[in-house]
Amino acid sequence: MTHLTIPKTYKLYVGGKFPRSESGRVYEVTTAKGAFLANAAKASRKDARDAVVAARAAQSGWAGATGYNRGQVLYRVAEVLEGRRAQFIDEIVASEGVSTAAATAQVNEAIDTWVWYAGWADKYVQVAGNGNGVSGPYFNLSTPEPTGVVAIIAPRESSLLGLASVIGPAVATGNTVVVIASERAPLSAISLAEVLATSDVPGGVVNVLTGSAAEIAPWLASHADVNGLDLAGAGDLGSDSAGTGSAGTGSASTGSASTGESTWVDLQIAAAETLKRVLPPVSGIPSRSIDRMLAFTETKTVWHTKAMI
């Protein structure tokens, strides 16, 4: 007896919920060879702004959680990913056109990356902070804190590993994020969102948008309530190879901003208006690093007088 498959509807992930794009738009996701895979939601400016609102609402709670707690939640993500590895391997094979072995390796590496950053959540303060021996009767301590809301353009390649490599470092320290998934291979991102939604990650800590980075990113780069901008996957925005044929038409947000043609430098220029912390594009997948975590932290130095006794 054959079973007629039930295709999944891929939607956005905002504030812990899975809404469709408010614009009603979708775009076609295909296999590497061009066969139809799914219609993914094509997020609009409004969706991006909603995602920032959700990320901001979740930020103080997530930053206020103990590092131990954040670490356990991120480790839980790895646990749940492990249980759904077959699904991710299938999706990666289908949408990236790689071998099963390569997809398996990518899933393994993604899981290990979550575990690596999970372990940092309650240690980065110790490594990046300092007691300061000042010349006077003062207690003086410098500690890193999360920057706030970080907008991320995920790497275009290795969709699942790319996401782990940019979301992990930002959320381990207590930031909340709005991430624009790889435009060509967005399915892993939405499936990852399903993992996050069932891994005790509070709603709004990670928000996932699918669609055109060239269209959405400028609104995030200029958004006054976004504190950091990770341009990891923005390297070829605005260049000839960035267009997928589906971007830019029927846009609901043909406002004053020049969407579609923005390069990553334009995004950095827009980010300067509110002095966002910006990580430049990387080629390929960012390697695991404490620098990537500390890029979206702020050092706070507290002085307190000591009594004369």
Binding site: S142, E298, T299
Partner: protein
């Protein structure tokens, strides 16, 4: 009847200065002519000319950057860390030896009281060089792994409020990390930087390691946007900081921006009140309020508001405003006419928006730029004087009832440089400090600075830290991959 406020003037002599009538640019170890339109630096307390100053044009900036590049590639980056440190130790000692001269020059050129230049600025300058001197041969402990690299040429632009101290904050870590420097002092306060150039000659610092170019904003713009610069460190206004972030976007230059602030100074009803009053006064009237981390927004718990304001007025009435070189002076001159106009404008807006203005009753000298200590009460969070950085001796007083309200009001600003908390309740202080979005928090004290203590802002107060290990790391990058490998394999054979 005489009171303790009547006193005999005790002016510090300017005879200790050996100023030249005019100063050129300090490039490649010597003073050379500038090719921009030169200008004059005046004393803001008398408006009298001090010296003529050269201005660097585009060609001069090119020369300075080229000198720094040469010095970096051929000399400074090849020197051992220990030797770089020795030069910095020499500089620290020379600053100590010439401390009085530097303090007098700073007070003369900037308008700040000699008491502050002598007891705060110059001792901290020496401390900064001494602290970073010791780092120069210990870079492996800066937090970037073994064998970190210098960045190359650092372009540094500094403000007029702490001219020599800001120079020290910039130059000391840059040199310790193996970078070379082109630095531009502020247009209104170039004097101590030029005396510092003489100190560098006495220290026999290799030519081109530090280049000091004077000029206006355009010179600074040319410098930070120069294509052969690897690092930009800027202290100044948020507007200029944003312009630098824009113009350097995509360049790969490493940037440190230390910008404006509108710090909340939060006073709870269980605060040690006498200390708090002194701290509030020091927080906003130190250096005429020309301090980016000044405690310009006093948030006082509602039930002690009247008492605190009365005590403040009484204390401010004892401050002495006048000749900056007089050792009795508490409040010196406003640095420039332009700044004085801005303070006046914002204060007038404060009144027209409905806040109540109180100004200390003190005699204002006939010449020069002066602004008497001023307090605004009945200020609401939407008033311009509660939002804009005045950068002058103007305090806005707001109230709160609960710690949560204090935190919400304190964070209600695009800035995030500093904050103060006054309370006898230690656990409350730590809880409030946790929730304040500011880079430096002083609890039961204010305006403390130390070379070992990182300083810098959240949000639109900029990014990067100066001071401490963090301030050193801002001038370094990780070892090149090949070098890292070499280090590892060498380590493995041990």
């Amino acid at each position: 009847m005489t009171s303790f406020l009547d006193y005999a003037p005790a002016p510090e002599s300017t005879a200790i200065l050996a100023l030249k009538p005019s100063y050129g640019l300090f490039i490649n170890g010597e003073f050379v002519d500038g090719h921009g339109d030169g200008f004059t630096t005046i004393s803001p307390s008398t408006e009298k000319r001090i010296a003529d100053i050269a201005s660097a044009n585009s060609a001069d900036v090119d020369l300075a950057v080229a000198a720094a590049r040469r010095a970096h590639d051929r000399t400074w980056s090849k020197l051992s860390g220990a030797d770089r440190g020795k030069y910095l130790f020499r500089i620290a000692r020379l600053v100590q030896e010439r401390a009085r001269e530097l303090a007098v020059a700073e007070s003369l050129d900037n308008g700040k009281p000699i008491r502050e230049a002598r007891d705060v600025d110059v001792p901290l300058v020496a401390a900064w060089f001494f602290y970073y001197a010791g780092w120069a041969d210990k870079l492996d402990y800066a937090g970037l792994g073994t064998n970190p690299r210098s960045l190359g040429v650092a372009a540094q632009v500094i403000p007029w409020n702490f001219p020599l101290l800001m120079l020290a904050w910039k130059i000391a870590p840059a040199l310790a990390a193996g970078n070379t420097v082109v630095i531009k002092p502020a247009e209104t306060t170039p004097l101590t930087a030029l005396i510092f150039a003489e100190i560098l000659q006495q220290a026999d610092l290799p030519a081109g390691v530090v280049n000091i170019i004077t000029g206006a904003g355009e010179t600074g713009e040319l410098l930070v946007n120069h294509p052969d610069v690897d690092k930009v460190a800027f202290t100044g206004s948020t507007a200029v900081g944003k312009a630098i972030a824009r113009s350097t976007a995509g360049s790969g230059k490493k940037i440190t921006l230390e910008l404006g602030g509108k710090a909340a100074n939060i006073v709870f009803d269980d605060a040690p009140i006498d200390q708090a009053i002194e701290g509030i006064v020091n927080g906003i009237f130190f250096n005429q309020g020309h301090v980016c981390c000044a405690g310009s927004r006093l948030l006082v718990q509602e039930n002690i508001h009247d008492d605190v304001v009365e005590r403040l007025k009484a204390r401010l009435s004892t401050l002495r405003l006048g000749d900056p070189l007089d050792k009795n002076t508490d409040i010196g001159a406003i640095n420039s006419r332009e700044q004085l106009d801005r303070i006046r404008d914002l204060s007038d807006i404060g009144e027209s928006e409905g806040a109540d203005r109180w100004t200390a009753d003190c005699a204002i000298p006939e010449n020069g730029f002066w602004f008497a200590p001023t307090i605004f009460t009945n200020v609401s969070t939407s008033h311009r004087i509660a939002r804009d950085e005045v950068f002058g001796p103007v305090l806005s007083v707001l109230t709160f009832r609960t710690p949560a309200e204090a935190v919400a009001k304190a964070n209600n600003t695009p800035y995030g440089l500093s904050a103060g908390i006054w309370s006898s309740n230690g656990s409350r202080i730590l809880a409030v400090a946790d929730r304040l979005r500011a880079g430096v928090i002083w609890a039961n004290t204010f305006n403390q600075f130390d070379p070992a203590s990182p300083f810098g802002g959240y949000k639109e107060s900029g990014y990067g830290r100066e001071g401490g290990r963090h301030g050193l790391a801002a001038y370094l990058s990780e070892a090149a991959p090949a070098a890292r490998q070499a280090v590892t394999s060498k380590g493995a054979t041990k």
